[in-house]
């Protein structure tokens, strides 16, 4: 039971990272598309919260290396390159954003920060998605001597993983656009976010279908797996049914309902994927896998992990919601 509880907390953390941390990355993408006029809104919306949002990823990382050390070391070796690229993106995104935000005045030096912030906001989720794609696809080689390309490149540099990278990037920008509908101060800005939200949602749907096709083409029967697993099938249907509802709330500009629905949609996609993936962590190209069971640390470690997570959740969640409450009040 402890293993499942820890996995649940990790899933929740990953979900929060996607909707909150994802919205922060997405904001950079939207800034790239809309330019100067959205800088102020975006800075104001994400400055107080992006660091706290970023910690959800740290939480996921800590749970993996504490609870499933073999998974952490395997990922670190096999997916070294995309993970390193994710890291570089995170460095540039965080520093560029903070540097420009706290600088004394805006002048010509800021164009470098703008560029770094936007480019890294675009590329980080892309590489993150590629990494995730590699975990799902199962081309990771358990044999380190199979050659540099086969071991360190092929598992993540392929059509399916590129599709996953695009999907993640688009998902983050979609979540962000929906979030920003409620944050922008001008009608013109709001219209831009509304249009982007709708278009990205449709694009996501199409991209989702394309990914299923790419998986098929890469020899992974992802779609059949989704169909065969009742939970996953239900989530696909639910996620699709939510689309018209989300469109309607966007039309009517019901900010809170829209955010909850989009959050729900992301959660549903997550659950669907988790049900297909369970209990595998990393799939190898010889058919074997590292699962949550064959890599879980001992009971003593898990007891401590459960305590730490429970205490953490009890202290952090109220504080986290307090932070959001404070910054959602109009002053």
């Amino acid at each position: 039971m402890m293993v499942e509880f820890v996995m649940l907390v990790m899933g929740v953390a990953l979900f929060f990272y996607t909707v909150l941390g994802g919205a922060d990355f997405g904001a950079g993408i939207i800034e790239m598309l809309t330019g100067e006029r959205s800088i102020r809104t975006i800075s104001k919306a994400i400055a107080p919260v992006w660091e706290a949002n970023h910690v959800w990823l740290i939480l996921v990382l800590v749970v993996i290396f504490n609870g499933f050390p073999k998974v952490f070391s395997t990922m670190s070796i096999m997916l070294h390159i995309p993970l390193l690229l994710v890291l570089v993106g995170m460095i540039f995104r965080g520093t560029a954003f903070t540097f420009r935000h706290y600088d004394v005045i805006e002048d010509s030096s800021h164009r470098y920060y703008h560029f770094c912030f936007r480019a890294s906001s675009l590329l980080t989720p892309f590489f993150l998605g590629m990494t995730l794609g590699a975990v799902i696809l199962g081309r990771i080689s358990p044999d380190l001597n199979a050659g540099f390309y086969a071991v360190f490149i092929a598992p993540w540099l392929n059509a399916f993983c590129i599709g996953m990278g695009l999907f993640t990037t688009l998902l983050f920008s979609y979540v962000s656009a929906v979030f920003l509908i409620g944050e922008v101060e001008t009608e013109e800005g709001r219209q831009i976010m509304i249009t982007y939200s709708k278009r990205s949602l449709i694009a996501l749907m199409l991209l989702g279908a394309l990914i299923m096709a790419l998986a098929e083409w890469s020899g992974l029967a992802l779609f059949q797996q989704f169909l065969a697993q009742p939970i996953s099938l239900a989530t696909i249907i639910l996620a699709t049914l939510l689309i018209p509802l989300i469109f309607r709330t966007i039309e009517k500009r019901q900010i809170n309902t829209m955010r909850v629905l989009v959050g729900g949609q992301v959660a549903v996609i997550f659950i669907g994927w988790a049900a297909v993936q369970f209990p595998d962590f990393i799939r190898f190209n010889d058919g074997t896998a590292l699962t949550i069971y064959n890599t879980a640390a001992g009971a003593a470690t898990f007891r401590q992990l459960v305590i730490a997570l429970t205490v953490g959740v009890l202290i952090i969640l109220p504080a986290f919601f307090y932070l959001f409450k404070v910054f959602k009040q109009k002053v």
Partner: protein, 457 residues
């Protein structure tokens, strides 16, 4: 450069860089909690101005600390998968607590930085204090994990297998307390001296500037108190090292031959080939006393350590000397500071040119000592990554080409360092315009043209 060297260099560089921001994040919130508290009590503008000005610097440094900390968390696996595979479940506990503390820190910092008009004054002050407390806790947890590498406990190691894992015993290993104690004071010492030094240099140009006067005073107070504590916490840590890691102590002291009683070797250049230290100053009996509290105690030299378990002597010894040297200078400055501050007659000395120049020159001392101290503890543990259990070379990643990632990280961090210097200079140049207590007229100027002109100077 082979993969092992590259991985070690990358780790050393990432860690050495992160430590600076981590320490600022540990100490600065307390400086600000002090000034904000003074403001709440006295209503004096200068204390509010200081809190706000410092908080901008902290916001920038904190973000750099957060991303460079993330880099380290990933690098544990990217560079040392062999270590994490076996150590992850044993020392994950302090890391998971560190994660929680870091979370609190980020949340509280959001409220502290942006909540000035959104939460009440005391809630704001409390949030600042929470930033500091969780920052210090984060530091202690991470150092506890490092302590475990020096003093592994909480498992049985049989035939290359780690069994009977007890994460609590691993976290509270023999080294965690002495290391965390020394590190926490070091953070305050280094940050205090660095901040005081910068403001002292600015004060030299404008002696009446109330803002820089108070800033120097507050920062130096924290730094000086910590500087007094450093020899004591250092002595506790050194005695512990003498007991647990004789090889490290021997390398720190460049003690090639076991001695009873042992002399303290100060300075000098260790020569591995001749097994001697050239140009060193020796104080008889002193090492025996410092290491074991007994003037006639035996101190184990490198001759009793198997050749393939000896740490690099030159680096460890020199780093140790640098740390002690900088620490000694800061101790003298601290003593002088308290002596001058203790009577109204002597207090004007604290504004004399020579004193301000001295404080200005001391700006980097704390951080130099801190980096040197980390070099001692990390290089002095070699060739082990887990002392006497796992060698560093057995933990390194099998991924080829780490040389390139090292060069990349080196280039990125160098670039960021330059940008940070550029940004801090801009903050400093505009301080007298942005804060009423930092100029004679008591004015606040925020229009862009004036600020731009100030930046061009």
């Amino acid at each position: 450069m082979d993969v092992l060297t590259a991985a070690r260099m990358q780790m050393a560089f990432s860690l050495g860089w992160h430590i600076i921001f981590a320490c600022i994040g540990m100490a600065m919130p307390f400086f600000m909690a002090y000034t904000e508290w003074k403001w709440l009590k006295t209503g004096e503008q200068v204390y509010l101005d200081l809190t706000k000005a410092w908080s901008k610097g902290v916001a920038i440094f904190f973000a750099v600390g957060a991303v460079s900390g993330t880099v380290l968390a990933f690098e544990l696996g990217l560079l040392w998968p062999g270590f994490m595979e076996h150590a992850g479940d044993i020392i994950g506990m302090p890391f998971s607590w560190e994660g929680s503390a870091f979370f609190m820190e980020a949340i509280a910092l959001g409220i502290f930085l942006y909540g000035w008009n959104r939460v009440n004054k005391w809630m704001h002050w409390v949030s600042g204090l929470v930033v500091g407390i969780s920052g210090v806790l984060s530091g202690i947890f991470v150092v506890a994990a490092n302590g475990w590498m020096n003093s592994p406990s909480g498992f049985d190691y049989v035939n290359g297998e780690f069994t009977n894992i007890d994460p609590v015993a691993a976290m509270f290993n023999d080294a965690w307390f002495t290391q965390a104690l020394h590190m926490t004071f070091a953070a305050f010492c280094a940050t205090g001296f660095a901040v005081a030094g910068v403001h002292a240099i600015l004060l030299l140009k404008d002696k009446d500037n109330l803002f820089h006067r108070k800033a120097t005073q507050v920062a130096l107070l924290f730094g000086a108190i910590a500087a007094l504590a450093m020899p004591i916490t250092g002595d506790i840590a050194a005695k512990d090292v003498a007991k647990r890691q004789p090889a490290k102590l021997a390398a720190m002291e460049a003690l090639y031959h076991t001695e009873r009683p042992a002399s303290l070797i100060i300075g000098g250049i260790p020569n591995d080939e001749r097994q001697e230290v050239d140009y060193a100053l020796r104080i008889p009996y002193a090492l025996s006393f410092l290491a074991h509290g007994d003037f006639n105690a035996e101190v184990i030299g490198l001759d009793q350590i198997p050749d393939d378990e000896e740490p690099p002597v030159l680096i460890t010894h020199l780093a140790f000397q640098i740390m002690i040297g900088c620490g000694g200078l800061m101790l003298l400055i601290a003593l002088a500071f308290f002596w001058f501050s203790s009577s109204a007659k002597r207090r004007p000395i604290l504004l004399r040119n020579w004193w301000l120049k001295l404080i200005g020159l001391a700006t980097p001392l704390g951080f130099i000592a801190l980096e040197a101290g980390w070099t001692v503890t990390e290089v002095g543990r070699q060739p082990w990554i887990i002392y006497e259990v796992m060698r560093t070379k057995d933990a390194v990643t099998p991924v080829p080409g780490i040389q390139y990632s090292f060069i990349m990280i080196l280039a990125i961090y160098t670039l960021l360092t330059l940008v940070l210097i550029f940004l801090m200079r801009r903050q400093i140049k505009t301080v007298s315009l942005l804060y009423a207590s930092a100029n004679k007229e008591g004015k606040v100027v925020k229009d862009k043209a004036t600020l731009e002109a100030a930046l061009k100077e």
